[in-house]
């Protein structure tokens, strides 16, 4: 298994005290799988994704990624782990504003010690159709372009796991569709495991599996075969977990 979560709990300190976000989440993701995480706002899907990326620390249970327990690693060990194995794409792109597109994409490669970081970054930007914008700063690019840079940045180190948190949430429909095509294309080319949070059932249906979260608990899981994808989503949505 690439990812294996067992009885994961997450509580965070809010303004009015501790808030329980996730309750006893257990799930496994196999190598090469694509998994869609869906659910209403506040259901904990993004938090679950953050836990999988080691960007948030679980307050209970274990999160195994490629056999490593992320809950026992310190910040720097987590950073090194991500550097070698993970790529993350955010809804708000989160490019570093003081760096050009090329520098943004090269950064994770440099951090991993790649001697050819900039050459690879350039090739990656070419692959997302931005070979001509390498010297532009994020502020000089449209939202769609910024997200393409973010995709290139996430894919450049050839991660085993690609995590995407509502990657089209800040984009219009057409741009969003193009970004999704790119994301799946990258995933197909490099064979990474893709886990994606989305509000769009259509997008979720493009994944091999879809998990629905409600109130921090796994509510339903659907295995999307090419034939079933639309039907399931269109009718009841999801089979109950354990049914």
């Amino acid at each position: 298994m690439v990812l294996s979560l067992t009885d994961v709990e997450l509580s965070l300190q809010g303004n009015a005290g501790m808030v329980d976000i996730l309750h006893g989440i257990s799930l496994e993701v196999a190598k090469g799988d694509t998994l869609g995480l869906v659910g209403p706002s506040g259901s904990g899907k993004s938090s679950l994704l953050m836990l999988m990326g080691g960007l948030e620390r679980a307050t209970g249970g274990s999160v195994l990624a490629l056999g490593n327990d992320l809950t026992t690693m310190d910040e720097d060990q987590l950073a090194r782990f991500r550097r070698s194995h993970m790529g993350v794409v955010f809804q708000s792109f989160h490019l570093i504003p003081t760096m050009t597109a090329l520098e943004n994409v090269a950064t994770p490669l440099e951090l991993a010690g790649a001697a050819d970081a900039f050459e690879r970054a350039e090739a990656e930007l070419d692959a997302v159709g931005l070979g001509h914008r390498t010297d532009h700063y994020p502020a000089q690019m449209s939202g769609g372009e910024q997200q393409r840079v973010a995709l290139a940045r996430a894919a450049a180190p050839r991660p085993d796991i690609l995590l995407a948190d509502e990657p089209t949430g800040n984009l219009d429909q057409a741009t969003g569709a193009a970004i999704m095509d790119l994301l799946f294309d990258l995933r197909d080319r490099h064979g990474a495991t893709l886990i994606m949070v989305t509000h769009s059932l259509d997008l979720a249906a493009r994944c091999d599996r879809t998990i629905r979260l409600v109130d921090g608990r796994l509510d339903a899981e659907t295995r999307n075969t090419p034939d079933l994808r639309v039907t399931d989503a269109a009718t009841t949505g999801y089979a109950k977990v354990g049914e």
Partner: protein
């Protein structure tokens, strides 16, 4: 005017939000105002003290002073007619523990007084006995420093010249010390009667006689009238008038100069503070973009918005200025006693409205200058564009009326500082310097950004992610470069300039002067002693050179027929020391005319110093009349000499031919160049054989000058320190403002796999880069300022002092590093998930 009421209402409601974003704003303004108010208050306190205690400091309501002679009976009669008169002799001499070559000796400034001394004020003695009792029967009072140096205790004998006196008391406080000016030795007080037979005050020796007058009930107008009356009566006698309104002119001059200079340094501090004020207002208005846009959407006119925010900033500025004024009033009252203890004059501590007003004016104008631009932009920007451009990055020029208002405020600030400082030219130069430094710093910040940008893209830094991140961050958009370089740079510039000047002066004194300056000046060598003196020093193998010259006092009466009083030059004021010679002497360069032949006995001829002759407009062939010991002598200027007064050797402005003055009573002056190890033996032998001869050890004099320079440099460094502190506060403000950005950046970098060490290194590198850049600019501008001041004001050679410069760069880098690292903790500790999701 309903729009003003509307603006006031909006301002009042907006201010309910509190002052949390304005700590830096308040601190910058308060600190700048406090520094200026404090310096001004101390200056006024000293001036007020001098005015209040004028007659005590002077030792009387008025004073008439003669050089090298006492008043004639006729002159004395004129003075006695004015009021109660006390006579005081003042001269340098050697105090000794005994007679002969074995005694210990030290230079002392002697005051020989009559029974009436002191006419005003009280001497404090240890033990506390009356002055008359201490001075009776050849008693002496000496300063504790002199007692320590000679190892004397109360009751011990002390020798002045050939007179044996008894030490009766130590001088704890001398009320009229401030009027004496710069003395080379600690004080000794004896009675005039004790001088008789001492061989110290004879015709031709160097001394001053002061006649202090107590004129009960004399008004300032009466003093003015008396001054005119006595100056007319004493015309051409070399007598100088002083009264209680100008009791300590040297102290007053130093305090005025230093005070004005420190206020200018304070203005530089306020300019640095202005950078912080401007940043705070920009950031506040950026945060208020939504509110402004909403108000505009609801129908608020541009002028209402402008006035509303001007009022808010005005209230805050008033608060900042008020805090500054309170601090500026309290600081002098707190440290006043410390200052008073170090000054020979009283200090009238208290609240002085003048300097407080000056500081408030500067503070208000600075606040206006630095906030008008961002405030004016709020009126110019359309509501829609405000919504679109929520980050406030749009750069629209304000309307012309605001630009005019800004220019008026700048002119008002520069003009008021020129007028109020009392040194208008220096104030204007300083304003120019500050503007130049600011422009250069802005340029440097731009250059650093460009260079970083360029370097970040080079292959050399690839594979060094921490360095590339730092360079990218410095060079990229929205960086802190300008704020950091500006805030720290100006403070460091002032410090660098002070450092360069101080180091150059010290170097000149330490390195150059002892090499060319003699070991001793021997003065008051009587004609019958010169042979024995030369015999001792010229036969000493450790002595490399001995120069001697006869010396006597004279007053210039007229030059080419024009009375001396019509010249405004030091040569024509009071008594001048002049000399006579047969030959120009070794190393003297005649630059015009011809020196008289060696055995010349014709009409008196004069050799004049070239520079002074040029300043006075003296030409070859001009007749110069001098009064020498009561006799007028007219000589013809036949040549000009190049005289270098800075070498420390013998130099006279006016030299007559020998035959013209040989008959007049005179003494000899000698400079002796000897190895340091031989100095003590020379002093022991010369003064032991001839106790009336005064020896001034040049090394001691240099040490005193160095000490005085050190105190000046310290005072200026404190001023620069205030500027630097303001800079540091602005720096902290910039670092705090950048914290959110760094937290975000750290979170993204962690996501991409950066360890905390990499991120911290990157933060540290960018801070150090900016600090070093500010330091380098500070050195360039500071060195330029130092060169300018040394070359044009002090007329001294300048050489770049790298040690002081290096300290500035390292200090700048460290300061930014500290400020940066202080705000690195939160970004490093933050969990990426929380930070990044909060931005989604």
């Amino acid at each position: 005017m309903i729009w003003l009421t509307q603006a006031a209402t909006i301002a009042r409601r907006e201010l309910r939000g509190g002052l949390s974003g304005f700590r830096i704003f308040l601190a910058c303004l308060a600190l700048g105002v406090a520094a200026i108010a404090a310096v001004g208050s101390v200056r006024v306190s000293i001036t007020a003290g001098l005015e209040r205690e004028g007659s005590v400091i002077l030792g009387g309501d008025a004073e008439v002073e003669f050089d090298y002679r006492a008043a004639t009976p006729e002159e004395r009669a004129l003075l006695d007619a004015v009021g109660t008169v006390s006579q005081v002799y003042d001269f340098r001499s050697m105090a000794a523990t005994g007679e002969g070559r074995e005694a210990d000796r030290a230079l002392t400034q002697v005051k020989a007084v009559d029974d009436l001394y002191p006419l005003t004020g009280t001497l404090t003695l240890d033990p506390p006995i009356p002055v008359a009792q201490a001075l009776a029967d050849d008693g002496a009072i000496i300063h504790p420093v002199l007692a320590d140096r000679l190892g004397l205790e109360i009751g011990d004998p002390i020798y002045l010249g050939t007179r044996a006196l008894t030490l009766r008391a130590l001088l704890t406080r001398e009320p009229d010390a401030g009027s004496a000016g710069f003395g080379l030795g600690p004080r000794t007080i004896v009675s005039t009667a004790a001088l008789e037979g001492s061989g110290l005050v004879s015709e031709g020796s160097l001394f001053e006689v002061k006649y202090r007058m107590l004129i009960p009930g004399a008004t300032d107008e009466q003093l003015d009238a008396l001054e005119v009356e006595l100056e007319t009566a004493f015309e051409g006698s070399g007598a100088r008038w002083r009264d209680r309104r100008n009791g300590a002119p040297q102290v007053q001059r130093v305090v005025d100069r230093l005070g004005s200079f420190l206020v200018l340094v304070g203005l530089a501090g306020l300019a640095v503070g202005g950078v912080g004020v401007s940043a705070a207002v920009r950031s506040y208005l950026d945060r208020k973009t939504g509110v402004i846009a909403t108000l505009k959407t609801l129908g608020a006119e541009g002028r209402v918005i402008f006035a509303a925010y001007l009022m808010q900033i005005g209230v805050l500025a008033a608060l900042g200025i008020a805090i500054g004024l309170v601090l500026g009033t309290l600081i002098p009252i707190t440290v006043g006693p410390l200052i008073e203890a170090r000054l020979p004059v009283p200090v009238a501590l208290g609240v002085h409205p003048g300097p407080l007003f000056e500081a408030a004016l500067y503070g208000a104008l600075t606040a206006l200058i630095f906030t008008l631009w961002p405030l004016a932009r709020t009126e110019q920007v359309r509501a829609a564009s405000l919504f679109r451009d929520a980050t406030g990055t749009s750069r629209v020029w304000p309307r012309r009326r605001y630009i005019v208002a800004l220019a008026v405020a700048v002119v008002a600030l520069v003009a008021s500082s020129a007028l109020l400082s009392g040194i208008p030219m220096l104030a204007l130069y300083s304003a120019g310097g500050i503007a130049f430094a600011l422009a250069l710093l802005i340029g440097a910040a731009w250059g650093v950004r460009r260079l970083s940008r360029m370097l970040a893209g080079t292959k050399a830094v690839r594979g060094w992610p921490a360095l590339r991140l730092a360079l990218g961050s410095v060079g990229g958009p929205g960086g802190e470069a300008t704020a950091v370089v500006l805030s720290l740079g100006l403070g460091l510039t002032v410090l660098a300039a002070v450092g360069q000047i101080d180091a150059n002066m010290r170097a000149a004194i330490d390195r150059d002067l002892p090499e060319i300056a003699p070991s001793y000046f021997f003065v008051d060598i009587q004609p019958d002693q010169i042979e024995g003196f030369l015999d001792r020093v010229e036969n000493d193998p450790a002595v490399s050179r001995v120069d001697t010259a006869p010396m006597l006092g004279g007053v210039v009466r007229s030059i080419a027929g024009t009375p001396a009083s019509e010249f405004d030059h030091w040569v024509t004021r009071g008594d001048r020391r002049i000399s006579f010679a047969d030959t120009p002497g070794d190393g003297t360069r005649i630059v015009a005319g011809e020196f008289w032949p060696e055995d010349y006995t014709g009409d008196p001829q004069i050799s004049f110093a070239r520079e002074e002759a040029e300043e006075l407009g003296v030409e070859i062939g001009d007749a110069v009349t001098m009064n020498v010991l009561g006799r007028d002598i007219t000589g013809t200027v036949t040549n000009f000499r190049e005289v270098d007064f800075s070498s420390g050797g013998i130099g006279f402005v006016i030299i007559f031919n020998t035959a013209a003055l040989q008959g007049a009573p005179h003494t000899w002056l000698s400079t002796v160049y000897a190895e340091e190890s031989a100095e003590a033996a020379i002093l022991r032998d010369v003064a032991g054989d001839a106790p009336n001869i005064t020896a001034i050890r040049v090394r001691d004099a240099i040490a005193l000058v160095t000490e005085a320079l050190g105190a000046l440099a310290a005072a200026t460094s404190w001023g620069a320190g205030a500027t630097l502190l303001t800079g540091f506060i602005v720096l902290i403000g910039a670092a705090a403002a950048g914290e959110r950005g760094r937290t975000f950046e750290a979170s993204v970098l962690k996501t991409l796999g950066a360890t905390r060490a990499t991120i911290l290194t990157s933060f540290a590198l960018r801070s150090a880069l900016l600090g070093a850049a500010a330091g380098v600019v500070a050195i360039v501008v500071g060195a330029l300022a130092g060169w300018g001041i040394l070359t044009f004001v002090m007329e001294a050679p300048y050489s770049f002092e790298w040690r002081s410069a290096l300290l500035i760069v390292v200090g700048g880098a460290l300061a930014t590093l500290l400020a940066g690292l202080a705000f690195a903790w939160r970004p490093l500790a933050a969990r990426p998930a929380g930070v990044l999701r909060a931005q989604d």
